[in-house]
């Protein structure tokens, strides 16, 4: 009898050992619950209206200046709770270190920004403490950091409350007057009292079933550019600057970057179902839209794609920032390689396109997850129609979708490796915002995802064989203390890696603004050079690896 029991136990133990042996290597571990993060994103289960499908962003920023990156999740209302702003609770989590976070939302006063959408960070009032801008359906919020764990909404007073349906945002000093300005993309004109009826006609059907209407068939919104006047006030100058989008394309992801390296910040806007914009800064307070001649407006075959999120990265270590744009299913995520004076769509030849075809892509980032010195790529996915799970899917995945993780092979191509790293990457979620940063200052890039309909994911990087690294924290001069727009170049031997300090990007989200460099086996950075937004430069030599370097202008 005893033997009969022992034998199966032995088999079980052997099976367990074999399972362990076959278990995937750990890259990210989901520490959400153990870290004390209980945030839940709220969205109407049926998503009968497009406003219920498009939130929500996430921000990584150090609001209390303790050197540990904190997290802010944006929550959203629903049509049913639109008149009850307390029904949605965005959340601020203070990083306590050692993998623990504390919910400090109630004290902070930034828990109820209304029908929240996206978020970006910057030190708007020039006091050295990061403030937060939250986009929304309705009035946007500019939460000024009071240095004591509380914030005050100054959006109305500052003139940046906007209105309509704002989505993406990003700060940059576009006119180089030493003050941070703000671009806000907007999506669709929505009147909550006269919403387009679910499934009302053939523009509100997908694969023969009734779904939410839009964005096609609905009127789009123009965009905002708020110029910082320097007295705590901003002026809306989008039309004068040439970035207002008078035709009302469906604006979402935003990325400021100096694509032509002339020292003036340019602007990329990902538009859903319409051509994307690349606004070249003319250096005189105006911009020229050049996405078509630059080759970043549409897909290679001229299709207008449903673009959501944007990532910027020098994945070739060529000194130029390429663009990665996440798109709707049965389209493809577009990788536009920066070739100097133009971009080339290398999505298929880089092997990034094909795995993305069944998926609806949102938050995204270039991250060097293994610190091998080459920027990898990550994107989170999820459909907009929950009804999709009730019908045949054709070439599209279901409502909940897996993540994409592309490992950079170093030759201009990527391997999609999410499946190698187990359920944390392959479990199906309804991903939206994604922000990357180093939550525990261990040199490994962590990722935080805001998922629709439930829990976020705080993914701690626990890869064993990571390379050396360097984290660079810049402090800019008055007017731009985060040094947003600064370009950091780290040279090791013959390889120079380039990063840019960004406000906004991904999908309605804010990455950790510190510049992260994977260095592979290099034990030091031979030369670390910063080009500040005002054009001046700083340089350090022989910087040891595996440390956080602070550089002040």
């Amino acid at each position: 009898m005893t033997r009969a029991v022992v034998a199966p136990l032995g088999v079980l133990m052997l099976a367990a050992a074999m399972t362990r042996a076959a278990s995937p290597p750990v890259l990210f571990r989901d520490i959400t619950a153990e870290a004390g993060i209980a945030f839940q994103h709220h969205a109407a289960p049926e998503k009968k209206y497009i406003v219920e499908s498009m939130a929500g962003g996430v921000a990584l920023f150090d609001f209390d200046r303790d050197g540990l990156t904190d997290i802010y999740f944006v929550d959203s209302l629903t049509v049913d709770t639109a008149n009850s702003p307390m029904a949605a609770r965005s959340a601020l989590y203070r990083n306590l270190g050692h993998g623990k976070f504390e919910d400090v939302t109630d004290r902070s006063g930034i828990g109820h920004p209304g029908w929240g959408m996206g978020v970006c960070a910057a030190d708007v009032d020039d006091d050295g403490w990061d403030d937060l801008y939250v986009t929304a359906l309705g009035r946007n919020r500019l939460y000024r950091n009071n240095h004591d764990g509380t914030f005050t909404d100054i959006a109305e007073r500052a003139g940046v409350a906007g209105g309509g349906w704002s989505t993406g945002c990003g700060f940059a000093d576009y006119d180089r007057d030493g003050r941070l300005d703000l671009f806000v993309s907007r999506y669709v004109k929505i009147d909550l009292d006269h919403l387009p009826q679910f499934g009302k006609d053939k523009t509100c059907e997908y694969r023969g079933i009734a779904v939410q209407c839009g964005p096609r068939g609905l009127a789009g919104e123009s965009d905002f550019l708020f110029h910082n006047d320097g007295n705590g006030r901003f002026s809306e100058v989008a039309a004068r600057a040439g970035v207002s989008d008078p035709n009302g394309y469906f604006g979402l992801g935003v990325a400021w970057f100096d694509y032509n390296d002339d020292g003036w910040p340019d602007l990329y806007v990902a538009n859903d179902s319409t051509a994307n914009f690349l606004y070249r800064n003319n250096g005189d307070g105006t911009f020229r839209e050049i996405a078509f001649p630059a080759g970043v407006a549409v897909s290679e075959d001229g299709a207008e794609q449903g673009s959501m999120g944007v990532a910027l990265g020098d994945y070739l270590n060529a000194g130029r920032l390429s663009l990665f744009v996440t798109n709707f299913s049965e389209e493809y995520n577009a990788l536009y390689r920066h070739d100097g004076d133009h971009f080339t769509d290398v999505s298929f030849s880089s092997k990034t396109a094909a795995p993305s075809l069944p998926l609806v892509g949102w938050g995204t980032a270039f991250v060097d997850y293994d610190n091998d010195g080459l920027l990898d790529l990550m994107a989170v996915n999820g459909h907009v129609y929950p009804q999709l799970d009730k019908v045949r899917l054709g070439a599209s995945a279901g409502y909940r979708q897996r993540k994409l993780l592309y490992h950079n092979r170093g030759n201009g191509t990527f391997d999609e490796v999410a499946a190698q790293f187990g359920p944390v990457m392959t479990d199906a979620r309804v991903g939206r915002g994604l922000a990357a940063g180093d939550l525990d200052n261990d040199g490994g890039i962590d990722v935080v995802v805001n998922n629709l309909d439930g829990s976020p994911e705080v993914l701690h990087n626990e890869l064993l064989d990571r390379g050396n690294w360097l984290l660079v924290k810049l402090t800019g001069p008055r007017g731009n203390t985060d040094a947003i727009g600064a370009v950091v170049k780290a040279r090791t031997g013959a390889v120079t890696r380039t990063r840019v300090v960004q406000s906004g990007t991904s999908y309605l989200s804010q990455h950790d603004m510190r510049a992260h460099f994977g260095l592979g086996s290099a034990s030091q950075v031979d030369s670390l050079e910063v080009r500040w937004p005002d054009g001046t430069t700083s340089k350090m030599v022989n910087v040891k690896a595996n440390q956080i370097v602070a550089i002040k202008r």
């Binding site: 053939k202 001649p293 630059a294 075959d301 001229g302 298929f348 094909a354």
Partner: protein, 289 residues
Amino acid sequence: MKAPGWTLTIAVAATVGVQAARPAAQGAASTPRSVNELLQTARRQVQAGDAPGALESLRDARTLAPNSEEVLSAIAQVALAARLLVPAITTLDALTRICSTVPQYHYLLGVALMEAGDMAAAVESLQQADRLAPERALTLTALGLAQNSRKQYDDARRALMHALDLEPENVDALAALAEAESGVGELAQAEEHAQRALARFEAHPTANLVMGIVLMKRERYAEARDALNKAIAANPASPAAHYQLSLAYARLGDDANARQHVEAYQQKLHEAEERLKTLRAATSGERPR
């Protein structure tokens, strides 16, 4: 030749279809308003080049015999030959349901859907045609073309290589294979196959478009411009060709022509969207976002 590659297949199929409709049209008709009489009238009208009149006669016949395969088939053939895509697709949609095992109807529906721009539905129809009647180069070529449009390049390549096994000289399959190879970034193979297609038919729209794209990627912009101009001459309705040509002009510093072709691209894209909208309003098929 002013049409995209796949319209060749429509023309061939439509001809076959009209031939097939003849026996029904030749049947005895005892009353002026009988189905057979109307079919005969339609046939005479087709021969006289009066496609709208023929369709009118056939619609009258359909009123008398709503589920007649002969009548529906004749409507589909005439509508396809006249490039009246909405009646062709709605009729073929009905035919594929009534006669679900006839591969020809699935094939024709697939080709008509491609022509209308509904590539997702086209792929499904053509896959069904291939399942019902495997080893047909015509079906495999059309399937490969539709899969190319869906960016399903690996699937397309399989279908097209199979088509070329069956018909090594099939210029449409060769050009489409080049397109699939270009899609996945295999430029050398794409160039080789496009060149082979152009050697057989120098005005082939797909082959010229592929050459244009390959040359763009090789940064040979002047040659790309010339190839893309040929592609547009062969198929002025191609948004992709206009878009790529706008890029070629932009790289060559010719801003005026670049702008002109962006505008042409936007116009062609708008026209294609309107066609699709019309089609979707008239049918109950799938409607991608």
